[in-house]
Every structure is written in C-alpha cells, then in structure tokens.
C-alpha cells in the first residue's frame, strides 16, 4: 500500500510500485486534472507538483513519491480563490482546448514562486510544455500579468 498526500488529503493506493503516478492519480484515485499526452515526459500535460516542484507524473513511479505532497490543478486554488496564475489565465483567455493548460498553469505557478518577476528568458526556459492549440503568446502574457498582480498584492 503506497501512501501519499493529494491536494491536502491523505490517500493510499494498492498498486505496483512501478505504476506511474499519473495512472495512480487518474485511474485509482480518480483525480483527473493531470492529463495523458505522451507517456514519455515530452509534453507535460501530466504535470503535478511534488513537494512544490513540477514533475511529469507519467514518468514518475508512484513508489518514488510515497509520503510526498502531490498537488494537481484541482488543488492549486487556496480557500476557494483561484491562484493568481489561474486568475490571469481566465482574464487573458489563455486556453483553447485546455487539455495542456493544467500542466502549463502548474509549471507557471512554480516558476513564479521561484522567480516572482520572471524575464522572457526565464519563461522560455521554464515553459517547455507542449500546447498543440498554440496558446504560447497568451501564456507568456499571462505569466507576466500574474507576476504583476501578485507583486501588487504583496506590496498592498
């Protein structure tokens, strides 16, 4: 039995240790936010936070994250309020089909935690998830907007 914390709730799964975290979340724990896109850590649609770090859950055996804190797109908002990145994503109408966007948002949120005012180069380096709909221009704008709004709030 493997134990982990998912979006603040203790969860456990009786699965093979090598089963990827993505499939434990999706098929065993019914957490559908992380998406399957490639299975080889290329696209990032399966991104989750593991102890605060973005990871591509399709390529992480569940045994490697036993006891760790997992946050998926469903758990990013705190106290019922959208995360600043989510707020910016809504305001700037970033998603198209939206399938990759949970992953994109989680990577952006982690970037902003490390670099509250990222440069375009920082964004280029961090945002390697694929978006087939081609929302990249809006992702960049939204990250800058989220940085600005978070900055404004912390000053206030």
């Amino acid at each position: 039995m493997i134990k982990l914390t998912v979006n603040g709730r203790p969860r456990q799964a009786d699965v093979e240790p090598e089963m990827p975290l993505l499939w434990v979340l999706r098929d065993v724990l019914d957490v559908k936010g992380p998406k399957f896109g490639c299975g080889i850590a290329q696209c990032g649609a399966c991104t989750v936070h593991v102890d605060g770090e973005p990871m591509r859950s399709c390529s992480v055996p569940v045994s490697a994250v036993a006891g760790k804190r997992i946050v998926t797109i469903e758990g990013l908002a705190q106290g019922g309020k959208p995360h600043p990145v989510q707020q910016a994503w809504i305001e700037l109408q970033v998603p198209q089909c939206g399938y990759c966007q949970g992953g994109q948002i989680l990577v952006a949120a982690a970037l902003l935690r490390k670099k509250p005012n990222p440069t375009d180069a920082d964004i280029d380096e961090a945002m390697t998830n694929l978006c087939r709909c081609g929302t990249y221009a809006r992702i960049r704008t939204a990250i800058h907007a989220a940085a600005k709004s978070a900055g404004t709030k912390s000053k206030a």
Binding site: F36, G98, G134
Partner: protein
C-alpha cells in the same frame, strides 16, 4: 466524481412537461449538467430547440456542434443570445442531445464541427432560433398585459412595454411563451446594432478548464468501468495472423484479450489502463502486412510522380489556352513542390468509453461529429439509433482528427464483447501517431508564362495527391476532382487569361484525412511561393506583382493591402532582415501574411515578426478570432519546420513527440494580428490563418538566403529555426 449512467430522462420529461405546459417534447437532462454532480436545478420551459428559460431567468442555450478550443460554443451562443435579447450573465450553454436529434428529426441541423463552418454555416438558423424565441416571449408578455406585441421590446432578459411602463423578466413568461405558436418570419438585427455578438466575450468553458474541472473524453468515469489498450497492425490495412497471450494469463488486473476490426487490432482489457497497456506489450502478435510491407516514403514519391506521366487527367479549372500561351510566352518558369504527410497530434489521444446494456448504448467521447459517433455506435452495437446516447465531452484538440470515428467503432466492439460493463478505450501516443488519418502528401508541378513586359499570361499546374473524399469518405468525385486536393488553384483569384489546373488522383496505402486547413494548409504554400518565383522572373516586387494580378479580386486585394500596410512593406528593414508575403482565400475568409526574418549561411532562420491579417466578413467574437489566428501560426510553423510523417516497411516511422516535433513556447515568434472585417459575408475563423504563414516565411527565406525551399519540412531542406 461519478458520471450518472442513466440520465433521469423520464423524470425530466415529466417535470418539464409540467413546467413547460406540454410543449416540451423530450429533451433529456444535458450530459454536462448530469455529470457536474451539482444539485439539479428546476428544469425550464423550452421555447424552441435552441432556448430553454428557467423560472429563475437563467437561459440555457443549446450548442449543437463541438467545442475543441475553437471557441464556437461561446460564439454560437452569442448569436442566439443576441437575437433573443438575453442577459448574457444569465446564459448557460449546454450540448444538444444526439438522441433527441434522431428522435425529433434533426432540429439542430449539422452537428459536425469541421471545415470552420460552425458560425458561417449555422449563423442564420442560430440567429433565427434566438429571434423566434424572443418573439414568443414577447407575445406571451403582450398577451398577459393585453397590449400589442409590437409595442414590447426584449433586451437584457427583460420585456418592456414602454407606453405602460411595465416590465417582466423572461423567466416569468417562459412557460406561457413555450405554448405560443412560433412566428413564421422573424427580422434579424443588423450586425451594427449587436451588443452581445461581435463583442470579445470571455469563453464559457475557460473557467472550468483553468480550475481543473473540465471533463474531456479521457476523463469519463463510472463504477465498474474497465480499460482497454490497443495495438493496431503497424502496416496499414494488415491484420493479426495470430497472437499469444500466455505471458499475461493470470497477471494482476487483466480481464480479457481480444481482436477487433476484423483482426486489424489486438486489445487487452484490464482494471486500469496502465495494466492493460503494459500487458499488451507482452502479447506476442504475428502481423500480416497485407502486401504493403515494402512501401516507403521513396516508393510513395515515385507513385505520386507517376501522376505526371498520365496523358489525360481531370481538369479542375480551365481558362483560355494555357499550352498555347506557355509556348508563346516570353519567359516560362517551371517548378515542382512537395508537402509531406502530417499528423494531427491532438494532445488528448483518441479515446472513447462505451456501455452496452439491455439494448441501450451510452457513449462518452471527444468527437467533432456527434452524429457520426451516434451512428457508428448504433451500427456496431446493432441497435436502433433511438437507443443510443452520446455524452459529449470537451475535446483535447480536434484539428480534423475527431471527425472520423475509428475509435468509437473500436470501443463499441470491445463493449459489445463485455455487455453491461463500461469500457474505456484509450490509445497510446504511439498508436495515435502511427494510426492517424494524415494530411495527404502532395506533389505539384507548375508552369507560369510571362509576356515581354513581365505580365503573367499563362498558369498551369498539376496536383498529384491522394483524395480524402474518395478514400476516407468513400464518395464519388465530381468530374474526377477532389476539391481539397486542388484548393486555392481551382479558385485562382488572379487575372491571368490562360489557366489550366489538373488533378491526378494518387492513393497510396497511407490513410488520409482532414488536417486543420486541409488543402489550404499546403496549396497556398505552393501557389504563393510560385507567384514569388514569377515575380522574381518578371523583376517585380512580390507585393506589387500580386496587386497587379488581383484586380478582379477586391477582398483578396484588400487583406493583402491591409497586411502589407501594417507590416510596412517597402519600408527599410534593419540590415540582414528580409520580408516575404502571401495571400489567399480559405473557408470563405481572406488571409494574408508578411514574415520578417534573417538567415545565415548555416541555414539558421530567425523570425523577427509575423503579421497576419484576416477578413472573415462579420466577426462574432474578436478575441477568440485573435486566439485562433495566434494558434494557427504555431500550427503552421510546426508543420513548416518539422512536421513530417515518413513511411518505412509499410508503416509510419515516427512514434511520439521526440521524433515528431511540435513548436514550443521558446520558439514562438512575435505575431501581430490585423483583424480587417469588411462585413457583408460570413467567413470561417478556425483554419484560414494557417494558410498564408508557410509561403510568407518561405518567400522571406528566399529573400534572405537566395534559397527557394520547395519542399517541407524545412529541417530537411537545410534550415533550422533559431531565436530572433
């Protein structure tokens, strides 16, 4: 979250009959609502197929086509709400039911979201649906007040009778309105008076997406569900000769192994998908390649080339005498262009969930053609159409891939083998990459003739390419022409007196399909680059040369001018930076592009700026149109620089995103968009902007490097994309 397996249709019918006063004729609870898990609100009165009004003034607008990120769920509802006079804040959008579509003899018309047609081909009946419902609501209020309906106005969800200063909200009169006879004729608003349509209204589906609440086909979930992984014969058209599942017997979670599609595919069913997928790797399958095991990209190229040896082929367009004019021309330019097979790569791989129980079939899936999904499930399950319920989920990308229903056909076969058990079929990325319906590879030869003054006098082209219409849709070709194969040639806008456009149909064994922008994703590249070659031969500026040929095509000319102006065509550029330009019609809209880039001797191309303009006539949601253009540029550049499906030993060589490369954020150039709607017509939005990007970039590459890239992908032509 658990999906309700049996939408409480009967209960809803009863309730809505009571509320709607008998007019409601059998709409079951919309899927999204049933699945939300939220408390079910009181059903409302159905005014007509498009509009339901609840007692609390909430307006439900039914959406018939599909939402795959193109935003039409919102813009279609904007058109209905505009004519309805609704308060947009109280509007909710829900999918129309395919089951009711069958039972009520297609009240919603075409449900397919393909060909950029959701707005342009439904706008009239969507607007009439809203206007008709408005008239019925107004009539109900007028009857209650005993005043002429002509004195009442509906706006913001409220009906007002100004002379008596009375007001009533939609919800209060909805039940009475539902009993009214619909008016036979309704007047539609002049688009200049729009207050909801034409505005950049936020998309209705985005908050759910951003908060992680959106449900895609892959997310279907219900008690007792089992999961299927599939291995299709790697060689198209082949099948499994035999398979040995001894190694997975008794393995944890494994429930069943079977073949489907006439042994074309082997399937393992398990209690979760990962177990099914892993077990399938250990099933030893012997494939029969059906004689196609030696086909390669090289052999397909030879097969296409043979299309140029045919003496007589169908002619798609003829004007004057192209042969004679070419023979007499002062200068003749000849070229051969190639565009390769492309994969759709919807980020959500193909998936479908089916439950067959007691003669009823429930399907949960991502589809661009819900009626085709419905019919496929009914046909495979062998049940009447009335017994099928398609629960439409958000699509994780479409791009033309999810019009075909191969995955529904497969999932229904598996479910048929496991009656009473819901089965979710999910393809791996590798299956998706290797069993797509690819954009056809196309080989095109052209000849252009110039007179002594450099004016174009003759244009000849022959397209040697597969036919999607003949092979995928299996429809007869009118006069031997597949319109997609000759798109942008058969409707050549240029004032050239002698033209002949020919089509040699060449169908290799690789299955082809509708890939975003279809023929317009490849032929404008060929046409507009060849026009550049003609301009060069004529010693003329590519922009001015085009202008001189567009004298009888005012809309083409207008968007060309608008984009050239925005880009500052003709104005000096920084040293080493060069421009290219292209223009075409596509899906009833007019699109043009100017690319600015620099290149070096190593073939490294840095794109400094891309300007794209679109004239779609009337704009329903400008922000969404901008988003579609932004996305189209990425789609076009991915295909131009890297997209390449190649064949070896009868099968696709690429397997996943490491060897079929898509553009990433860091590679995205700066894009400026010109929305230049001229009104008076309804053009498409989701696909057109893909068309002019590749030729504009390639023409700029020629300007920068002197090298003419006549074949894709550019990575094979010695070019790479680097940061500007």
């Amino acid at each position: 979250m658990t999906t309700a397996l049996n939408p409480s249709r009967r209960k809803f019918l009863k309730n809505s009959a009571a509320v709607g006063g008998g007019l409601v004729v059998g709409f079951h609870l919309p899927t999204a609502l049933a699945q939300s898990g939220a408390p079910q609100p009181a059903p409302g009165a159905q005014i007509n197929a498009w509009v339901v009004v609840r007692p609390d003034d909430a307006v439900i607008i039914r959406y018939a086509r599909s939402e795959m990120g193109q935003g039409s769920m919102t813009s279609a509802a904007q058109l209905v709400a505009e004519e309805l006079g609704a308060d947009w804040k109280k509007v909710r959008v829900e999918y129309a039911s395919t089951n009711e579509q069958v039972r009520l003899k297609r009240p919603w018309g075409d449900m397919a979201a393909v060909g950029s047609r959701t707005i342009r081909q439904s706008q009239e009946y969507l607007r009439k649906g809203g206007a008709t419902a408005r008239e019925m609501l107004v009539a109900a209020a007028a009857q209650d007040w005993k005043v002429p309906a002509s004195e009442c106005v509906a706006a913001g969800g409220v009906i007002t009778h100004a002379p008596s200063r009375r007001k009533v909200s939609f919800g209060k009169v909805a039940a009475a309105a539902a009993k009214m006879d619909p008016p036979k004729e309704v007047a539609l608003k002049d688009p200049k008076d729009w207050t909801i349509a034409g505005k950049p209204i936020p998309r209705v589906d985005i908050p759910d997406t951003v908060m992680g609440r959106q449900r895609y086909g892959i997310d279907a979930q219900m008690p007792g569900m089992v999961y299927a992984a599939i291995a299709q014969c790697p060689v198209f058209g082949g099948k499994a000769k035999s398979y040995d599942a001894a190694k997975i017997q008794g393995r944890r979670g494994i429930l069943k192994t079977l073949t489907i599609d006439g042994d074309n595919a082997v399937v393992v069913v398990a209690d979760n998908w990962w177990r099914a997928k892993e077990a399938l790797k250990d099933v030893a399958i012997v494939w029969d390649d059906a004689g196609s095991g030696a086909v390669s990209s090289a052999s397909i190229m030879e097969f296409l080339k043979a299309g140029f040896n045919e003496e007589v082929v169908p002619v798609a367009k003829r004007a004057g005498d192209a042969d004679k004019a070419l023979a007499e021309a002062a200068k003749v330019v000849q070229a051969e262009y190639f565009t390769p097979f492309q994969a759709h790569c919807t980020l959500e791989p193909q998936t479908c969930t089916v439950l067959i129980k007691d003669g009823r079939v429930d399907v949960w899936t991502s589809t661009q053609n819900a009626e085709a999904t419905h019919a496929t499930a009914a046909g495979v399950a062998g049940v009447p159409l009335e017994n099928v319920y398609v629960h439409r989920m958000q699509l994780g990308g479409g791009f033309g891939r999810r019009g075909a229903q191969d995955y529904t056909r497969q999932a229904t076969q598996i479910a048929k083998a496991m009656p009473g058990t819901p089965v979710k079929l999910l393809w791996t990325r590798e299956e998706d990459m290797q069993h797509d319906l690819y954009r056809p590879a196309s080989l095109i030869r052209l000849k252009g003739g110039l007179d002594a003054a450099g004016n174009p006098v003759a244009f000849w082209t022959r397209v040697a390419a597969p036919s999607i219409i003949a092979t995928l849709l299996k429809l007869p070709l009118k006069d031997g022409i597949d319109p997609q194969a000759v798109a942008s040639f058969s409707d050549l806008p240029f004032s050239i007196p002698n033209v002949r456009v020919e089509y040699a149909q060449r169908n290799p064994h690789v299955p082809v399909g509708f890939w975003r922008t279809v023929g317009h994703s490849q032929n404008p590249f060929v046409r507009e680059c060849f026009v550049d070659e003609l301009a060069q031969a004529a010693g003329k500026d590519p922009y001015e040369f085009r202008r001189s040929m567009l004298t009888s095509a005012p809309k083409d000319l207008a968007i060309l001018d608008a984009v050239a102006q925005k880009a500052g065509w003709g104005k000096p550029l920084p040293a080493g930076v060069f421009r290219g330009i292209a223009e075409t019609e596509a899906y009833g809209s007019y699109v043009a592009c100017v690319a600015e880039l620099s290149g070096n001797a190593k073939g490294e191309i840095a794109i400094h700026r891309i300007v794209v303009g679109l004239d779609c006539g009337y704009m329903v949601n400008p922000d969404n149109i901008t988003a579609q253009i932004q996305g189209s540029v990425v789609y076009a550049l991915s295909a131009l620089f890297w997209g390449d499906i190649t064949i070896k030993d009868g099968r696709v060589e690429q397997t996943n995103f490491h060897d079929y490369r898509l553009m990433r954020l860091a590679e995205m150039p700066k894009v400026e968009i010109v929305l230049a709607p001229t009104g008076g017509f309804w053009g498409g939005v989701g696909e057109p902007a893909n068309a002019p990007v590749a030729p504009a970039v390639c023409n700029a590459i020629f300007a920068a490097t002197g090298k003419r890239a006549r074949s894709h992908p550019l990575s094979k032509e010695g070019f790479s994309l680097v940061k500007a």
